[in-house]
Amino acid sequence: MQCSDLGPEMLEYLAGTLPDDRLAEIRAHLAQCQACRDEVDATAELWNELGAAPAPRPESARMRARFDAALQGYIDGQAESRVVSLAAPRHLAIRWQPWVQLSGAAALLVIGIGLGRIVPASPAPQGTSEIALLREELRDTRQMVTLSLLQQQSASERLKGVTTSGQLEQPSAQVVSALLDTLRHDPNVNVRLASVDALRRFNAREAVRKGVVEALPQQESPLVQIAMVDFILEAAGPDARGVLQRLAEDMMLNQAVRARAELGLKQVGL
C-alpha cells in the first residue's frame, strides 16, 4: 500500500466503514508510517472541529409564513391564468357572431391608425423593459445550462453543452473560455472537434485565436489538429503564415496535419 492510497479512504477508515481486509492493510501501513499516522490524526482533529462549528437555527415560523404567502400567491396566479385562458374565449364565442367580430376589428383598426397619427412617439413603455429583463434572465439561464453541461461527466452531455453554446446570442467570456478549456482538456475527440466548430464564431477575438494556436501542439488527435489548422487559416488568413510554417515543419506532427498546413500556406500565397 502507498501513502497516497490512504487519502481518499481516510474518512471511511476513521468512520470504521471499510471492509475488514482493507482495514487491516491500512492498519499495517500506519504501524510503519509516521507521516500517515500524523495525517490521520490531523484529519480526525479537523473533522471533529468542523462538527463543532455551529450554524444558526433558521427562523422557521417566519420562513413558513413567507412560504405560505408565496404558495398562496402561486395558487392564485395559476387560478387567474386559468380563468383568463379558458373562461373568456368560451363566453365571447357564444355571443359574438363573425360579422360582429369583423366589424369590431375594422373599427379598432381605424381607431388605431387615428390614434397613431395624433399621439406623438413616447419612450419605451414599462412592458418593454420587462421583456428585456425576461430576455436577460433567459440568456443567463441558457449560459448557465451551457456551462453546467460542459462540466458533466458524460461526453454526450458535454457535446450537448458545446452545441448549446452555438445557440447563445451573446455568449459570455466565461462560456468562450469554457469552450477553449474543453478544446484543451476534454478527453473525448468528438467533443473537442465540436468545440473547434463552436469557437469559429469567435475567431475574430485575439484571445480565442491565440488559445487555439497554443492548444494545437497539445492535441493528440490528427482530426482535431486538422480542424484547428482550418480554424487558424480561416481566422487569421495571410497572418497565419508564421504559424502554418511552423506546423508544416514540425516533424513531431502527424503527416496529414503537416500536409494540411502546407496546403494552407499555398492558399495564403506562400
Binding site: L46, E49, A52, A55, M63, Y74, Q153
Partner: protein, 163 residues
C-alpha cells in the same frame, strides 16, 4: 408542499447558510428553492431521490445568488463577536477563536471545495449521494473531498490567529 417545507427547510437553510455565510441570504434562498420546486415540479422523476433533485435546485439557486452578488468571503459579525468577546476561561476563548478561524478558512475555500465539505460533513451525505447531486461517480467525490479537506487545513493555517 407544507409537509415538504417542514421536513426540508432546516437542512436547506444549513446548506445555504454555510455556503453563503449570510443568514438573511440563506433564508431568502431557501424560499427561492421551494418556489422553484413548485414551478419546476414536472422535472422531478419518481425514480430519482427527492433530496438529490432538491439539492440540485439549491445549487442552482446558490449559483444565481453568487453570480448576482459575488462569492465574497464573508464571516457574519455575530461569529466574530462571539470569537472576541466570549466570556469564560482562556481555553474556551481560544476554542471560540479557533472556531471562527475555521469558519473563515471554510469561507475562503473555492466554492466547489466548500460545497463538498458542507454536503459530506454537515448534510451527512454519502459519497454516492454527493455524486448523484454533482453528476459524478463516488470515487471522484472521494478524491475531490480528500483534496478539499487538505485545502481547508492549509487555509486554516493561513488565517491569522489574532482574527
Amino acid at each position: 408542499m407544507g409537509v415538504l417545507f417542514e421536513r426540508h427547510h432546516r437542512p436547506l437553510f444549513d446548506f445555504l447558510y454555510r455556503m453563503t455565510g449570510d443568514r438573511g441570504a440563506a433564508e431568502d434562498l431557501v424560499q427561492d428553492v421551494f418556489v422553484r420546486m413548485l414551478r419546476y415540479r414536472s422535472t422531478y422523476r419518481d425514480e430519482g431521490k427527492f433530496e438529490t433533485w432538491m439539492f440540485r435546485i439549491a445549487r442552482n439557486v446558490r449559483t444565481d445568488h453568487f453570480r448576482k452578488h459575488g462569492a465574497a468571503v464573508y464571516v457574519p459579525e455575530e461569529d466574530m463577536d462571539w470569537a472576541t468577546d466570549a466570556p469564560g476561561p482562556a481555553h474556551l476563548l481560544e476554542r471560540a477563536r479557533d472556531m471562527a478561524r475555521l469558519k473563515r478558512a471554510l469561507q475562503a475555500l473555492r466554492e466547489d471545495r466548500r460545497e463538498l465539505i458542507v454536503m459530506v460533513r454537515y448534510q451527512g451525505m454519502t459519497h454516492e449521494q454527493v455524486g448523484a447531486v454533482l453528476g459524478v461517480d463516488a470515487g471522484t467525490v472521494k478524491v475531490r473531498f480528500h483534496r478539499a479537506l487538505k485545502e481547508l487545513r492549509d487555509a486554516f493555517t493561513r488565517v491569522p490567529e489574532g482574527d
